[in-house]
């Protein structure tokens, strides 16, 4: 099972997209407009990465955007960016934890 399928398989994850830091689109699960999501999230990850470089924070590992009805979780692997749309946003922490456990087990 790919990492994308792993993320999309979590019950709180509504959709998942795989792209890269340049905004390129690779794959999507349950997301009809994966190209747009990949482009936006690639740009977002790049900007946050640059800010982190200015601040000396090292490599960006993940980012989470939260709102009243949903959240987006970005996980970086090298230049790949995986984005998961989480609903409800309160489930963000449990999704991160499940993802950590799953990815740690695979390494």
């Amino acid at each position: 099972m790919s990492d994308l399928a792993l993320i999309a398989g979590l019950p709180e994850v509504r959709s998942a997209v795989l792209g890269d830091l340049a905004g390129g689109f690779y794959d999507a699960i349950k997301e009809p407009d994966g190209e747009t999501v990949a482009a936006v999230m690639g740009f977002l990850a790049t900007a946050v990465l640059q800010a982190g470089e200015h601040l000396g924070l090292g490599a960006l590992r993940r980012a989470a955007v939260s709102g009243p009805t949903r959240a987006h979780l970005l996980v970086l692997h090298g230049t790949s960016v995986m984005t998961a749309c989480v609903e409800p946003p309160a489930s963000l922490a449990s999704v991160e934890k499940a993802l950590d456990a799953a990815l740690t087990g695979r390494r």
Partner: protein
Amino acid sequence: MDTILQSLLDLAGVTAALVFDGAGKLVAHRGHGVYDRPLCEQVSATLVKATDAVALQQRDWESLTAQFADGKLLLRNLGATGDGRSHVLALVADASLNPSFATVAVRVAATKLRKVLEGGPGSSATDLGGSRPPPAASSSQIPPPPAASSSQIPGDSRPVLANSGLSWSKISSVGLSRVAVADPAAGAFLTRCAKELARHVGPIAKVYVEEAVRRVSADAPFALAAAGPLLEDLANQIEDPDDRAKFRGALKNG
């Protein structure tokens, strides 16, 4: 606003706290060590690209948390003020940050900052304590530095003073009313600093001087013994090297 950001900076693990607007312009900042104004301005300009991208995907976003190898970056959307300008609070932290405490502290700070930005008590431009010029100066036409006789204090600035713990002593004719000085000579020096700095940075100069005094003389009234560090601190607010040298020269020779 400075007081609110300082309260965040007091949190264990936090290395800088800043507020920037929707144009990526730094409004206010507080930071340890290397997290000075130029760096925070650079970071603000970069982070606004990130928040613009977030808004494309999730217009109602409230917070963004980024986990790095050596620290964290927390952004909180402060929303738009009456004039339509949006603002974002950013917190920079190292790995020792307690995420639970930080979440609560950021929420509290965001609530207070919204009140200040929306025109609550102490919301005048001089109270923002940062790099944003007064709203009237937001266009390309920048008003001249305050005249020597214009020492009128904004009526709504006192509530913030009451909370800041800073003493209230009128020391100069350029509105430096929020810093304490050891003697009249020190007050006169600050006045000269503000006037000279205003030649290079405009009317925001007096805010810069107030902030610099707090940095170099945080625990005691400003005295001439701290003139050297203050001069260097203020010189760093001037981007152009030639202007910086002129500023230093004018005050050292004056």
